[in-house]
């Protein structure tokens, strides 16, 4: 098992070195081109943002990108389907198509400003998410088939890499924070969220990949799921703790319900903190790596190259670690919130303890 992990770690190292080389070679001309027009900030922001096409590389004036479907819903025109390539003009710039235009921030807008639309396009992030979901399905359904076939045999191959992590989520995240009796109903959510974030964090580190977990819409939805699960499984005690917090002086509750207001806001700040933490950490990592590489072009000197490569390599290693840590933190905090939602009354617990002691 250990040998397998080190093998995979070594593979990861090789991949990240390869990735850096790829980023440098593919984007050299891109940098050179962008120097004429926008600044490095635009370049970096372009890389970490969602897009209606999947841009892979630029060689001189040749752009290599995968066109993605653009889906628009509007009340007057219903569902409309286009390909993002139809929005490109001969200079490879976004232009108008069928009454819609994609602006310089990669937002789809109707030309007629009075119309309101919903952009349901399979953007770069959605496409990347679909890829990661297919990967998740392939990996975990094949692993689970092995478990189904021989539940008693020791883990093998991919199973031996994933089993310690699954056990880690169960034994170190779920059970200590939610409790032995109730953790089982949260396990599917915790495992899904953990592996979804982890896989996407890692995929985001690949060259040309989308910055999915560094997108605030994605992290917002994930944390809203945590909020939804918390409220759905919350018991009476949870709400008592919010509206009539025990152990707090009465004048904090009456006549001005200061404490209940603070606690009530807390319900929403918890998922919000999850949203921002994941988004900021992953986006920051991407910005740092891109900035380190941009240094070569800002200084316009080949001598910076080795420094940037070494520091970029170092940052990539750190990002591999961060990919795991952020998945872990998101899952851990979700588990803690679930634990608070299903926690039993403290007095009862004390009583049970006494009964237990008396029985012993």
């Amino acid at each position: 098992m250990i040998r397998n992990s080190t093998k995979i770690l070594r593979k990861g190292l090789k991949i990240s070195v390869l990735q850096l080389v790829l980023i440098l070679t593919f984007n050299l001309s891109g940098f050179a081109a962008s120097e004429e027009g926008g600044s490095k900030t635009d370049f970096i922001l372009h890389h970490i943002q969602n897009s209606h096409e999947w841009h892979l590389a630029t060689f001189g004036h040749t752009h290599i990108s995968i066109p993605l479907p653009v889906i628009v819903y509007s009340q007057d025109r219903g569902m409309e389907f286009f390909m993002s390539s139809s929005f490109k003009n001969e200079h490879h710039e976004w232009s108008e198509h069928q009454g819609y235009v994609i602006d310089e921030h990669d937002h789809l807008k109707p030309v007629d400003e009075s119309r309101s639309i919903v952009d349901l396009s399979i953007t770069k992030n959605v496409a990347s998410m679909l890829v990661s979901v297919i990967l998740l399905f392939l990996v975990f359904i094949s692993v689970s088939n092995r478990y189904k076939k021989n539940p008693l045999s020791p883990p093998k191959g991919l199973q031996s890499l994933l089993e310690p992590i699954i056990l880690f989520v169960r034994d170190e995240i779920a059970i200590p924070n939610i409790g032995k009796d109730k953790y089982m109903k949260f396990m599917p959510f915790l495992l899904t969220v953990f592996f979804f974030i982890w896989f996407n964090n890692l995929l985001g580190l690949l060259p040309g990949a989308a910055n999915l977990t560094g997108n605030i819409a994605v992290t917002l939805v994930l944390s809203l799921f945590t909020l939804f699960y918390t409220i759905r499984h919350s018991n009476k005690n949870y709400w008592v703790h919010i509206f009539n917090t025990p152990g707090v002086p009465w004048w904090l509750k009456l006549p001005v319900p200061l404490m209940p207001i603070v606690e009530f806001i807390g319900i929403f700040t918890k998922p919000l903190s999850l949203t921002i933490r994941l988004f900021a950490n992953i986006t920051a990592g991407h910005i740092i790596i891109l900035s380190v590489i941009s240094l070569i072009f800002i200084f316009n000197s080949l001598a910076i190259g080795p420094v940037s490569v070494l520091f970029g390599l170092f940052m990539n290693m750190v990002e591999l670690l961060v990919a795991f840590i952020q998945a872990f933190v998101f899952t851990l905090l979700s588990a803690i919130y679930f634990g608070q939602a299903v926690e039993e009354h403290h007095h009862e617990e004390g009583h049970e303890d006494e009964v237990g002691k008396a029985a012993a």
């Binding site: 922001l45 970490i48 943002q49 969602n50 889906i71 919903v118 952009d119 349901l120 396009s121 399979i122 953007t123 992030n125 959605v126 998410m129 679909l130 979901v133 998740l136 399905f137 975990f140 359904i141 692993v143 689970s144 088939n145 478990y147 189904k148 539940p151 008693l152 089993e163 699954i166 056990l167 169960r170 089982m184 396990m187 599917p188 959510f189 495992l191 899904t192 592996f195 979804f196 997108n215 605030i216 819409a217 994605v218 917002l220 939805v221 994930l222 799921f225 986006t283």
Partner: protein, 162 residues
């Protein structure tokens, strides 16, 4: 960058529900179930091993008990056997000595009776001889002195020869 896109929110929600459903049904349920089964079987196996160990110890103690008992029994058997042998030997000796005594006594008795019979015989013969001698003497006495004396000597010679 800080504005969540509505399209992505909708897609993310749909996909997350899909992933939760598919992985929950086809991956986590069997995996967690299998892990539980495996852990239970390991715990069971450990318990069984502990039990077997205990049984083994019990069996060993039992065996020792049996061996000890067998040894005791053996000792007892040997003891009683040697006792019986001794007794038999003693008895045999006693019987032998008794038989010997009886034999000796019988021999003695028979010797005595033989002796008595012999003595009686001798006495009879002596008496008869004496009678014969006396008779002859008496007869010769009647024939003369010389002859008497001759006769007497010859008888005496005869006696000597006897």
């Amino acid at each position: 960058m800080l504005n969540p896109e509505s399209g992505l929110i909708i897609w993310q929600t749909i996909i997350t529900i899909l992933v939760l459903f598919v992985l929950g049904k086809f991956a986590w349920k069997p995996i967690l179930g299998a892990l539980k089964t495996r852990e239970d079987s390991i715990a069971e196996a450990l318990q069984a091993a502990e039990k077997a160990k205990e049984e083994m110890a019990n069996l060993k103690a039992e065996n020792e008990q049996i061996i000890r008992e067998a040894r005791e029994e053996r000792d007892q058997i040997i003891q009683s056997a040697s006792k019986a042998a001794n007794e038999i030997k003693e008895k045999a000796k006693e019987e032998a000595s008794e038989i010997g005594k009886k034999m000796i006594e019988d021999a003695k008795a028979s010797i005595e009776s033989e002796k008595n019979a012999a003595l009686r015989d001798i006495k009879d013969q002596v008496a008869e001889l004496s009678l014969q001698v006396t008779e002859k003497l008496l007869r010769k006495n009647l024939e003369g002195d010389k002859a008497q004396k001759q006769l007497l000597d010859s008888y005496i010679d005869e006696l000597k020869l006897n």
